[in-house]
Symmetry: none
Subunit: 216 residues, 2 copies
DNA sequence: TTGCACACGGGAATTCTTCCCAAGATCCCG
DNA sequence: CGGGATCTTGGGAAGAATTCCCGTGTGCAA
């Protein structure tokens, strides 16, 4: 059996050390190089042509998901494994949409990473166990958390909600009943798969609907 | 020179591997044990009596800052080094208030951790370089002043809330009653002058407690 | 010792959410 | 044109969450 060659991309040196040490426990996995930034990663991958790229989502400059997209547009078929601390389905969905072949959380068992690298190198998809469960409990990825699933009015109310407007303010602003707004809110939460208001705000941020410097 | 004994507490196995590998580059540092949870940490520290405890802020069950407080109430003088990915002053302040002797971010140079462990073991305080700089720029913009009105426990719950955790999850994680969490939430909202959950998240974002690429 | 702040939680009233239902509007498609 | 799908609008009622007020216990400091 041929060695599986791997490139690591993470901005935290400590975490890279951990990756490397873990992966090298398996004598069939060989870590070719480590990268620290999005640019590093892109260059290294083109240069070294590893079997698998293991990449964090949070990178300086560009998200790992964006890097994934760029790498794949240059090298279709490159196997990329996202190794992230985000246990949020939003990120999982985005990762797979971008073409990643696997998603493992940092809180997964160490062996899971090795297993994931193996699976991905064979061309299979890998989703860490906790994530798979959380998908099951959240009605598959078609539920989307995608803002596109919101109707026009729903989006309008969604937007007001995440700005911190109260239901009363919204009903007054839109000249509709409080009840209607409350019902919209329920629908929006369900469509976005959010149980708390805070989760909705996060989704809004993730989709650039609002930003931290957005006062309005 | 006597070896410096260290205990690592972090919930991510990969990160612990990295810590250990980094610290053991220095032949005078000896890692006695690793802990994964708040409980682990507390027990290990009482048991092994290490010179220095290196601890993450984000732990399952209880924040590293809370653990710090508890350890110190049991073993005053225990040297604790917080090693966190939060680059925000709010956390730095909380950590030192709780009695931590050092604060290093995960994005710091690997050598900084070793240096920090050394300094702290000698009884000195250590603050990583990026943090020291951001103190300078932060003291002017007094952001974070609102959050100072929150008590330690309130802040902890606030942090969990804005991550989108439900009241039930929080009460389970902290081993306190749902009612207590609900009451805390009410107090927090009142103290921060927020009427909706979304407004609280906005405050959290504005103060850098969370960001759009931050989870856990 | 007294006072104060904090962590914790029960009870009850109130308010919010959810779920279910329905009417009217609109628009597209065969 | 009629039928169907979708959207907007809201009521009713049960259930869940929030608030407000009350209390306990603990630790700390004057």
């Amino acid at each position: 059996m041929q060695d599986i060659t791997v490139i690591l991309i993470d901005d935290h040196a400590v975490v890279r050390e951990g990756y490397r040490r873990l992966l090298e426990r398996d004598s069939h996995i060989q870590v070719l190089a480590e990268g620290e930034t999005a640019g590093d990663g892109y260059r290294l991958v083109c240069d070294k042509q590893p079997d698998v790229v293991v990449m964090d989502i949070t990178l300086p400059g560009m998200s790992g998901i964006e890097v994934t997209r760029r790498i794949l547009s240059k090298i279709p078929g490159q196997k990329i494994l996202i190794f992230s601390m985000h246990e949020d389905m939003v990120f999982v969905n985005r990762a797979f949409q971008a073409g990643a072949k696997g998603y493992v959380t940092k809180s997964a068992a160490p062996e899971a990473l090795i297993e994931a690298v193996r699976q991905v190198s064979l061309g299979k998809l890998y989703l860490s166990h906790e994530m798979a469960q959380s998908i099951a409990s959240q009605t598959i990825s078609d539920s989307g958390k995608d803002l596109d699933s919101l109707s026009g009015r729903e989006f309008e109310i969604f937007h007001l909600l995440v700005q911190g407007k109260t239901l009363n303010e919204i009903s007054a602003a839109l000249h509709i009943s409080y009840k209607t707004v409350a019902n919209y809110q329920s629908n929006i939460r369900q469509k976005l798969g959010a149980t708390t208001a805070a989760q909705i705000v996060r989704i809004a941020i993730d989709h650039g609907v609002i930003s931290s410097v957005d006062k309005s």
